[in-house]
Symmetry: C2
Subunit: 450 residues, 2 copies
Amino acid sequence: MRFELTREFLSILRFKIAESDLLWIKENILELHFADIAEILDKLTSDEAKYIYFEMDEELQADVLMELEEDVRDRFLSSLSTKEIADQLENLDSDDAADILGELSDEKIQEVISQMEDDEAAEDIVDLLNYDEDTAGGLMQKEFIQARVDWPVNRCLVELRRQAEDVEKVYTIYVVDKLNKLVGVLSLKRLLFASPKSLISDLFQGKNIIYVKTSDSSEDVVKVMEKYDLVSVPVVDLQNKLVGRITLDDVVDVIKEEADKDFQLASGISERIESTFSVWRITKARIPWLFIAMLGGTLGAQVIAQFQGGITKVPALAFFIPLITAMGGNVGVQSSAIVVQSLAKGSGQFGSILQKLGKEAIVALVNGIILSAIIYGIAFYFENGTLGLVVSISLFTVIVFAALFGTLIPLVLNHYKIDPALATGPFVTTLNDIVGLFIYFTVGMLLYKM
Amino acid sequence: MRFELTREFLSILRFKIAESDLLWIKENILELHFADIAEILDKLTSDEAKYIYFEMDEELQADVLMELEEDVRDRFLSSLSTKEIADQLENLDSDDAADILGELSDEKIQEVISQMEDDEAAEDIVDLLNYDEDTAGGLMQKEFIQARVDWPVNRCLVELRRQAEDVEKVYTIYVVDKLNKLVGVLSLKRLLFASPKSLISDLFQGKNIIYVKTSDSSEDVVKVMEKYDLVSVPVVDLQNKLVGRITLDDVVDVIKEEADKDFQLASGISERIESTFSVWRITKARIPWLFIAMLGGTLGAQVIAQFQGGITKVPALAFFIPLITAMGGNVGVQSSAIVVQSLAKGSGQFGSILQKLGKEAIVALVNGIILSAIIYGIAFYFENGTLGLVVSISLFTVIVFAALFGTLIPLVLNHYKIDPALATGPFVTTLNDIVGLFIYFTVGMLLYKM
């Protein structure tokens, strides 16, 4: 059965911790899946979590540590001594250890590394720290299984058994030559059913091997693993030597982070933030966008001020200002959202920009005709037929313009290697507000013959 | 080396197809990775694609077929006879075959099924068609590897070799009892290094087995696989019998679709659409939101109409209408985006609503103070100190209200099991527009003593 964490369970547990009821904790907590234990520790105080954590065996500790929520883990680690941190790192996969270490100050990193007993593990971690977080090098782990192409299967099995101790999840064996250059892959399934005397060179697949370079961006890694349906991908250095592997579960995190970032950029938040972050950090990520919107609003005020005479004569013109700006904003956001997503999928590099614009224009015409017909009736009811005409003609024009801007801006941003998700946010809405107001009042002045 | 598709390569290929240069095609196309071949076929006409497709061997055909873009594949399949479709389905994994079949009419499904030669495969597919697309049953495949808990390793190897022929990617062996009930899992790595005479019951892991039920929703499957870091998860029926497995690559698609849907909902698009869809389908997904926005705009017009006297006396009040509505909209979208994401992560069910509201209120106060101080100066410059006060006081109030609405609405929607991403879109902006206008003009009337 799957474990479900309840408030009741938590209060019982708290009571048992206060009582130091180790037997109960062993039977009811330590027997659970590591992900469930982590979920429980997330809800406890640092002291309570520490009490349970140090009752677990090393392997379980490592698994639980990596499953904790980031801020809980940071708090937990900062309550440990450098020696204790060093001990924990030795049980982790190299990529996880490097990620955790990367969060500490340079000074503390040195201290922790010097306290590590396993020199090889320490070396791996130090090596990984050299890579940029957002590259294949920053994502990869040093734990993988490799076989030499000239080995027979039985030798391979002996060597693999030794290597496999360090590697938790084995999907594919990477085949290298004498110079440690990647020459192919071999599935565990194939090896399992091979005769002991056959050679790796007869079994392995050396055609169309998919790999990434340490310097490839994490987005490229995602694209490659998705395109080629891989659960793990080998990483090679500049000399084509095998140096690591990246597994799909690490890449799923990148995919989710990318989606979150796009969603937030489109919502006018400049940095990936979570609701647990500090007020100041949240404000810093949000206020720049509000400045842009305020600047836009000020320019909008300027536009309306130019047409002050119109409003004095026909105050009802002011009634429909929010309608015009809201419609321009919404249409623009819709159009840009579609473009942003098709760009994110990597499609469309062949589809011509004109084609996209053409389709958006048709959709905008259809929407524009339907909506401006309706608004004519509404505005007529508010004032008279002239206002009806002003609002419906300008609404139609605004919808078409907003759709074109909404399509063009992300394409242009993308061309200049700026994240197009930027466009779905305050950018497009602000621009459309200003253009919309200008169209609206110009049409108004013309039709009212002012 | 990774293959890069260029325009030049495409035109050469088209020329070679026209020339029926099979030798060139064999050497330059059929030797590529299936994902690359699919990318190429996506760009060709149906006839060109068919020409290349039927030069490939069955296994390659199946791989390429599943990698084609959805609309290309639909077009391609509709150009085949039912017999040809049946032949293609037999080479696919059961879940892929069921997905493809599910797109056809009931009549055509029956025809295709009756033309299939492999009865077992046909039965598997028919069975899968019974499940809802958005459940574990709809995601699972019938190809998996299972071992009986009472088998010795050498018997297991013999049986697995037979089973493994049908299963492309093997990650984990599922261990069942005599009644076919799932009792545990066994990693391939463990089996590889086990002595031939040991029993599966000594090797397998029977504690904390993670599985899903056929009726579980696909979102639950995603959550389980993410939480427990799985590359594949076994699926059991109501009687706990093993009936299928779901692999992480299928779930990655669900994750991406979910993220896309949220992004689009937040952008005011009611259905997951792609830029390749028809104008009518795109319009249908977009126009309901524009109606909501237009309705909001009309209500806004009503609010302003109530304060017509104020605008006649102080026309400059109209200048800042777009600023007030834009700021309310942007703040609301920012606040709701953060809540929507923390809800999507499944976090926060323990965190109290009051706590979230409190933090948002503080962020809003900070933003409100900074921005309304600046706008005071701007509005002063436009008209005078009174307008400065009106705009800055109402901007401050609007920011605070918008932040609270933006936080509350997604929480309320979520409570009533409605997708909270709805809130980040036109909903919150429209509501904030109306409330904002009301606040602005009320403050204006008060300060101008009208």
